[in-house]
């Protein structure tokens, strides 16, 4: 007799496995893609990660994902204006790409459903490892997205805004973007909607030699939505990536960031703000591999915690043995505005090279009473003065971006959050 112990499945796990059976015939993909999907759902059958898995310690997905909505073919997401006027918009409504891609010189856009059908992106569908629940979930269900290729040397005048908009149900999208050598671009990844959806979204960026990209993730899901996202990037020789992440919504959010410097002179900047309110859980987890010598990185995360919100930042920097002259600095600062809120920070430095500069720091503070007094002594009432100071705490990170249109656009998103949560 074969004794096989299988822990009882949670309703969410059961719902995902059942949904896969129902959806299978509708999912695009050639044989290779369908095999990857099959492997992915097998991983989910082994159970969603719990706090016993180190990388999920602060976000027990198995416990927190207590329900999974059904796919809703009738869901109709509404189009929204881009954060920067005049941007090239590529919209996914309920996980489905618009048929006609806008024409921009130097940019070619393909619907991901086509790339799944012909199997050309099958190699990129492998999850990151056995603990990669988001990667597995996405690979199992991904049906569409955009494949964007920015030609060598192209310098885009306007931002490209990739919109992933939901109206309930489930959406699983993927956004592979290749930026050619010497190309320059600003890319906005907009995650928003109106429903209590389960969303998985995986962005995969490859930067060619000397490319410069500013990528902004603006996540403003409603407080009923579950948002599981990944951003993966390979940064080539002398290429620069500035990644800005703003989390300003969602009931259960995990944004994973996996970065690898693959060429000497590569530079990575992560700037993040987490605006946390209500009874929500938001996790930003970064794994950064300095894989070659002479690469640099800085990470600054600012968090504002109100209500019963819980936040997590895990930042892991791996400096490989031959990655000498690495320079990496990480900071995570939290403004805790309520007694019931909490924020957990876990910095990890794994350094195998001996000639590197690496550092990290984390602080948790309340509003500075001297600053509050100063503003009030000029006639600003207490509520407004607190608002100014909280906004200032996160605005500092935005102002660093040094591009007026982007700074203005992000400050507008910030103001929007303060209007509803201030």
């Amino acid at each position: 007799m074969n004794m096989h112990t299988q822990p009882q499945r949670t309703p969410a796990e059961t719902a995902l496995i059942d949904a896969f059976g129902d959806r299978l015939s509708l999912l695009p993909g050639d044989g290779a893609v369908m095999l990857k999907r099959d492997d992915a759902i097998e991983a989910i059958k082994h159970g969603l990660p719990t706090r016993r898995i180190e990388s999920w310690h602060y976000t027990d997905l198995r416990r927190l994902l207590n329900a999974v909505p059904d796919f809703d073919p009738a869901a109709a997401a509404k189009a929204i204006a881009p954060i920067v006027d005049g941007s090239t918009v590529l919209a996914l409504l309920n996980g489905v790409s618009s048929a006609k891609a806008p024409d921009v010189e130097g940019v070619s856009v393909q619907r991901l459903s086509e790339k799944l059908t012909d199997g050309s992106i099958a190699p990129g569908l492998d999850p990151y490892g056995s603990d990669d629940a988001i990667g597995a979930l996405n690979t199992a269900f991904v049906a569409d997205g955009f494949f964007v290729d920015i030609a060598d040397g192209a310098e885009l005048e306007r931002p490209v805004e990739l919109q992933n908009l939901q109206a309930g149900g489930q959406t699983h999208v993927r956004l592979p973007v290749r930026v050619g050598a010497g190309a320059k671009a600003v890319i906005v990844e907009r995650q928003a909607g109106e429903g209590a959806a389960l969303t998985s979204s995986v962005s995969q960026l490859v930067l060619g030699e000397g490319a410069e990209v500013t990528w902004l993730i603006v996540q403003e899901q409603p407080e009923t939505a579950t948002h599981l996202a990944q951003f993966k990037a390979h940064i080539g020789k002398n290429a620069k990536l500035t990644l800005f992440v703003m989390n300003a919504g969602g009931r259960l959010v995990r944004q994973e960031i996996m970065i690898k410097t693959t060429g000497e002179g590569a530079d990575f900047k992560l700037r993040g703000i987490n605006l946390l309110a209500g009874d929500t859980h938001t996790d930003v987890t970064m794994v950064l591999d300095h894989a070659v010598p002479h690469t640099t990185s800085t990470e600054v995360i600012r968090n504002v915690v109100t209500g019963k919100a819980r936040g997590v930042f895990q930042g892991r920097i791996n400096v490989h043995q031959y990655a000498q002259k690495t320079n990496a600095k990480m900071a995570c600062n939290t403004l805790l505005l309520s007694d019931d809120g909490e924020f957990s920070t876990k910095p990890e430095l794994e350094i195998f090279a001996d000639d590197v500069i690496c550092g990290h720091g984390a602080t948790v503070t309340e509003i500075d009473h001297d600053h509050l007094f100063y503003l009030m002594a000029r006639g600003v009432d207490e509520k407004s003065a607190r608002g100014l100071l909280v906004k200032a705490f996160v605005a500092e990170v935005i102002e660093e971006l040094d591009d007026e249109a982007i700074v203005e656009a992000l400050e507008a998103r910030l103001d929007e959050w303060f209007v509803t949560h201030g």
């Binding site: 600053h371 007094f373 503003l375 002594a377 000029r378 006639g379 100071l389 102002e399």
Partner: protein, 251 residues
Amino acid sequence: MLEIKNLHARIVDDGTEIIRGLNLTVKAGEVAAIMGPNGSGKSTLSYILAGREDYEVTEGDILYNGQSILEMDPAERATSGIFLAFQYPMEIPGVATMEFLKVAMNEQRKARGEEPLKIPEFLKRVKEAAASLSMDMAMLKRPLNVGFSGGEKKRAEILQMKLLEPKLCVLDETDSGLDIDALKIVSDGVNALRSPDRAFLVITHYQRLLEHIVPDSVHVLYRGQVIKSGDKSLALDLEANGYAGVIGEAA
């Protein structure tokens, strides 16, 4: 305009009594200088007038235009016309100076029942005030006081005072950290604001500032009390002979 009656105050955190029975009256239009050695309670007095929560009044009262201000928070005091020019103005990263000035000016206007300033009018006023203090507008594009030199911060305080048009101006060691040219500019800024309906409380360690801002009255503060009052000649006397003589007389 200002009447301080038998004021006793202590530090909330450790209960140390700093102000011990202070009496002082300042009339509208008057410039009153408060002098005194280090640790006499000068800065504490300025903070208590502005409503800082670190101090607690245990006895006595502060009347401003006949009304007690003890129950008012710092913002209410400010909108009623009390202004403190800080000895050490705070640097507040992330708060844009211009945005802050606009908010502060409009709060004052709101308290007086006036409409918010239109942007062009606001800019015009700021430009004029900055020019009169020889301040570069580029400075005001920075976050509030961030990266300002000591002298620039003091000028920025006077700029705010000009723009907010308070009725009772408390200047806490505005001369500290100023070179002689900056002292002249700041003093001229203060003198330009002197008017029959506005009073000044000028807190200083040295007579130097009072050569530029000539006071109507001089009060010596020691161990939390006014131990001697006089006219501007008292300041000269202190400069020549030090505080020891006055303190000896009072003891």
